[in-house]
């Protein structure tokens, strides 16, 4: 930690602080100013241009009566829970790579993992959109070829889902009941390079003596994971959890690209971020969208506080 310097010395070296000015200015202009502007405009009826009318707290009271906004939290809640479970493959792969005896193989697996990051995420999204195409998509073709489609049709007849029919291509993004499953399936096998690398970094900080002691005690591989590895990477898990929750709650790019601005069939894919976009750019209610954004910000802040308070890491 840096030693404190006296105020006099700090004033003497004032020119050095000028080096911080550009960064501060950039953050102020591109991060703080938009936020302050959004807070300001949330108290106005604003169409995005110059004309605005002060309406006080009306936008916020409208939020309370906004059924679409509140029901979007159900969708996002399901996606957050699904995304938490989708962390498991990344942890699993990180453990597998970590346990490889050969450093060389560890290196190559890391390279293989990182290479797809070159592809912009937008491209991946469009590829997945193509996967979901009812007539030309890979998903339906795979289900047909594997015979899994027949099983799904039979299950549909038992459970009465009304989405899988023999000889009829499944509209994964066109059936209300399939929207959320499609959003969950997206990204299969759910191995995120960033997540794996973060967990791997955590695992690699575990000393070999711990493993040696565990081997001596006859601990099974699964027990090693449960009692050694997982507890010792809780810091990384907590970090990923926070990033995941914030990212999922704020995010709407996936839903917008796959389903459109109305959240797809039945509006099932509508999430809070997409509703904010919809109100701003489709309905032209920018002031209301700012209020929605502010509300979302407070909500995420609250969740982050809860996460920090209750997801503790034993040091």
């Amino acid at each position: 930690m840096a030693l404190p310097i006296s105020q006099k010395k700090a004033l003497l070296e004032w020119k050095l602080y000028l080096f911080v000015v550009p960064s501060v200015l950039l953050i102020a202009v591109f991060a703080y100013y938009p936020t302050i502007s959004a807070i300001y405009h949330s108290f106005f009826r604003w169409g995005g241009g110059d004309a605005k009318e002060f309406i006080g707290l009306k936008n916020f009271s409208d939020i309370l009566a906004d059924r679409v906004f509140w029901s979007s939290f159900i969708t996002i809640g399901i996606l957050v829970i699904a995304n938490v479970f989708k962390m498991v493959p990344s942890i699993f792969l990180a453990v597998l790579i970590h346990r490889l005896k050969s450093d060389r193989w560890q290196y190559w697996y890391r390279v293989i993992l990182v290479l797809p990051m070159i592809v912009p995420s937008l491209v991946t999204l469009f590829i997945w959109k193509f996967f979901f195409d009812p007539n030309l998509g890979v998903l339906n073709a795979a289900l047909d070829q594997s015979g899994f489609k027949t099983l799904l049709v039979q299950m549909d007849q038992v459970f009465g889902w009304g989405v899988f029919f023999e000889g009829v291509p499944t509209a994964w993004l066109g059936e209300p009941a399939l929207i959320i499953p499609a959003l969950i399936i997206w990204g299969f096998p759910w191995v995120g390079a960033v997540g794996v690398l973060i967990f791997l970094a955590g695992l690699q900080s575990i000393g070999t003596e711990v493993y040696e002691a565990a081997d001596l005690d006859g601990v099974t591989p699964f027990q090693k994971f449960l009692h050694i590895e997982f507890p010792l990477i809780m810091t990384q898990v907590r970090l990923m959890l926070v990033l995941l929750i914030i990212g999922t709650l704020q995010g709407y790019g996936l839903q917008f690209l796959l389903l459109g601005e109305n959240g797809g069939a039945g509006g099932r894919g509508m999430v809070p971020g997409l509703w904010m976009f919809n109100r701003a750019f489709i309905a032209g209610e920018f002031g209301y969208a700012c209020a929605l954004g502010l509300f979302l910000f407070v909500f995420i802040l609250g969740l982050t506080w809860i996460n920090n308070k209750f997801v503790r890491v034993e040091k």
């Binding site: 995005g48 241009g49 029919f165 066109g174 209300p176 459109g260 099932r268």
Partner: protein, 534 residues
């Protein structure tokens, strides 16, 4: 000491570079390859369809040939991000000189960021010299009286429209010949349905993956909304006896609230049945597909036909490896056994306005040159170049359309279209998210009508409320404009043009206020009707 001098030199160099780059941004100056100084006029649009960029390039070259000190720079922006890009440019003060008016341009943005060109268009166009339109005021040289460039809320002309548009069915003629043995396009609804069935049978018998109509979230509704509106023609006339025979959101909501129609009305159900009848010939799940997916289907020969606008004609023709035929939408006739009861037959396109309208931004650094270029664009010779290169329908009177554009000339014979169920954002959202109840495997018109009944009225009311806020804002804006006009008129009582403008503004304002009161009444009626429900 030496260090201090070096620091000062460094800082000064930095400062000079910074100032120079600021100057380059603030005061850009273009130069041609031979070193001449030119003024650059930038023109932005979202029409990335085939033919438009080439036509604008050619028009730019023609203009530059006449004005060597001017360079025309085209800025095409994808439609999807056009609004975001536009807002950023307008608010940031870096907007191009000329911008296509339409997507993302509300009345408020138009009033704030665009210069009206009313004075320009009230005089004859100098670029029409030597033609029959030489002495005709520019606004009267367009097939729609230049209403496509007129804003009735702001009472000004803002744009010069270049093209007429229409919606048509495109056919794969080579495939049509294989299926039917001829290239005769269907002219009636029954022929159209029969052809769709033939295409299905052809696909089955040859084992070819073929759908009769390529559909998508974009193309499907274009066809089906038009067909639906043919089923509400008589209903609309019944609902508005002695009315203006025009559909409007205020009346639609009022009639809905009064129980005069609902999604379960016979005419509406008939419209939905018609939509479902046609939708069965599109690929399953078409509502999740994008416009490009449907075009892809068609040009790859997986679909016999596709419905789209005249704006896609050049793109489709250039991408398709086969010959493309075009025909109007085949509406059911009055003697159709299933759909004749509620229709008056074909729908007139006489009300279609000229589109692809370009307006002048206030941020333009060369407004006089930009205005002159707009005059040029709206002239008969330029419009001839436009239709010849883009193969789009021309907008100026007396310009013969390119042969490829002829099938897209508006059909002025036909009855008034009926009303649609959803034309505004919230109603369209409810409509779009429920449409699966109509097109899904287990869908039906009754199921669709039932799910619309739950939320459509609220959505229409919400849209009308939002629209009312906007029209109130326009009225308030007009208050100040009218004040300005009445004072100026009092000081210049012989200024005929001012008097005319004031007169029109007064008329428009009184009718607009009437519209506001009617909208409020419709919303009250809706609220009252909602409260009456158990």
């Amino acid at each position: 000491m030496k260090e201090r001098i070096l620091n000062m030199i460094g800082l000064s160099l930095l400062a000079i570079c910074f100032v120079v780059s600021l100057g380059r941004i603030a005061w850009p100056k273009s130069q041609t390859a031979d070193g001449r100084d030119v003024e650059t006029i930038r023109i932005a649009h979202w029409q990335l369809e085939g033919g438009v960029r080439e036509a604008l390039d050619r028009l730019g070259q023609e203009y530059e040939a006449m004005h060597p000190n001017v360079r025309i720079q085209q800025i095409p922006i994808p439609e999807r991000i056009y609004t975001n890009w536009l807002i950023t440019q307008l608010v940031g003060g870096t907007a191009p000189d000329i911008i296509q008016i339409g997507i993302g341009i509300s009345d408020e943005r138009l009033a704030r960021f665009f210069d009206p060109i009313t004075t320009l268009v009230e005089s004859p166009n100098p670029y029409n010299k030597g033609t029959a339109l030489e002495k005709v005021p520019m606004q009267e040289t367009f097939f729609d009286g230049m209403l496509g460039g007129y804003n009735e809320n702001l009472l000004e002309y803002y744009g010069v429209p270049l093209s007429g548009t229409s919606i048509r069915m495109y056919y794969n003629l080579d495939l049509l010949r294989k299926i039917t043995g001829s290239e005769q396009l269907p002219t009636t609804f029954r022929e159209f349905i029969a052809l769709c069935r033939q295409a299905v049978d052809f696909g089955k018998s040859t084992g070819r993956a073929l759908v009769p109509i390529a559909g998508s979230r974009y193309n499907g509704p274009q066809l089906m909304n038009l067909l639906f509106e043919s089923q509400t023609q008589l209903l609309m006339e019944e609902l508005s006896p002695a009315g203006g025979l025009m559909r409007d959101p205020i009346s639609t909501l009022e009639w809905y609230a009064d129980g005069k129609w609902s999604p379960e009305s016979p005419a509406i159900l008939s419209g939905m049945r018609l939509m479902r009848e046609v939708a069965q010939f599109m690929q399953p799940g078409f509502m999740q597909l994008q416009r490009d997916d449907a075009t892809f289907y068609f040009v790859q020969g997986r679909a016999l036909m596709i419905c789209s606008g005249s704006w896609d004609a050049t793109s489709i023709r250039s991408q398709a490896p086969f010959r493309v035929g075009v025909s109007p939408i085949p509406f059911p006739t009055t003697d159709d056994p299933d759909f004749g009861k509620f229709t008056k037959g074909g729908v007139s396109e006489a009300g279609s306005l000229a589109a692809v309208s370009f307006g002048l931004t206030r941020a333009s650094k060369h407004p006089e040159i930009a205005k002159d270029f707009l005059r040029f664009l709206g002239s008969q010779p330029a419009n001839k170049i436009w239709t010849d290169v883009s193969r789009w329908v021309p907008s100026v009177l007396g310009v013969p359309p390119h042969p490829d554009a002829e099938p897209f000339l508006p059909i002025t014979k036909g009855a008034t279209p009926g009303f649609a169920l959803a034309t505004q954002p919230d109603a369209m959202r409810v409509y779009g998210t429920s449409i699966n109840d109509l097109f899904g495997q287990e869908g039906s018109p009754e199921k669709f009508a039932k799910s619309l009944s739950k939320n459509l009225l609220d959505a229409q009311a919400s849209d009308l409320r939002r629209s009312l806020l906007s029209t109130h804002m326009n009225s308030k804006r007009r208050d100040t404009v009218l004040a300005s006009l009445v004072v100026q008129r009092a000081k210049a009582p012989t200024d005929f043009k001012l008097a005319e403008k004031f007169d029109k503004a007064l008329q428009a304002e009184s009718l607009a206020e009437r519209g506001n009161y009617m909208a409020e009444a419709a919303l009250r009626a809706n609220d009252a009707a909602q409260n009456k429900e158990p």
